[in-house]
């Protein structure tokens, strides 16, 4: 079992839809949780990070962490074709250097 599990998709939604992306993890010691967006042939771009449990909102993006269930989510409201990319979840222990990534979910938003 991988430490971080993420459904690779692909996920296809119409423009304006609400998108839900999810990851589960096995190690309860993870403390920081990140979401990255990666366009084709580009490096990952940090979208959001959260510490411990709770919600964080930034514009059309909301990140949720449920440590009791070892489950994190990223919601995208009013999705746009420009949101089409691969979304990677990542997590890390406090003070550690080894960020663990999910495999990434490939999202396509159709106009």
């Amino acid at each position: 079992q991988k430490e971080v599990e993420q459904d690779p998709g692909p996920l296809s939604v119409p423009e304006g839809a609400i998108v839900s992306l999810n990851c589960t993890y096995s190690n309860s010691a993870f403390q920081y949780f990140m979401w990255y967006r990666q366009y084709s042939r580009k490096g990952p771009e940090l979208l959001m990070y959260t510490y411990s449990s709770g919600n964080k909102e930034d514009g059309r993006f909301t990140a949720q962490v449920d440590k009791s269930s070892k489950y994190i989510s990223l919601f995208i409201r009013d999705s746009q074709p420009s949101d089409s990319a691969t979304y990677l979840c990542a997590m890390i222990f406090s003070g550690d250097n080894d960020m663990r990534f999910g495999a990434g979910t490939r999202l396509t938003v159709k106009p």
Binding site: V4, Q6, P8, Y32, M34, Y36, R41, K42, G43, P44, E45, L46, Y49, Y51, L88, A90, I92, S94, G95, D96, N97, D98, M99, R100, F101, G102, A103, G104
Partner: protein, 116 residues
Amino acid sequence: GAGVSQSPRYKVAKRGQDVALRCDPISGHVSLFWYQQALGQGPEFLTYFQNEAQLDKSGLPSDRFFAERPEGSVSTLKIQRTQQEDSAVYLCASSPLGNGGQETQYFGPGTRLLVL
């Protein structure tokens, strides 16, 4: 301000050849990370520098992989005697913070290595 840059963007090597991949982090960033990303997978940690000190190299897959950051800015990842399984995208990331703050990493575009 410029982001993290990497060169070359693409590299084709014959099996057994040595390669060197360069990373220019964001100016002033203390921490520098190297990752390997196989096709269809998330990045996997290779090594970490804080300034010029290589504090963690636990992710390097073999002794054919070597990284350095001699002056605490530019870093080079060297792969000796490349093998086909080394084919991947090699990503560099930097962070403005030292210990802690590893959650705020900024990635370069990567070097796509293909070993024939």
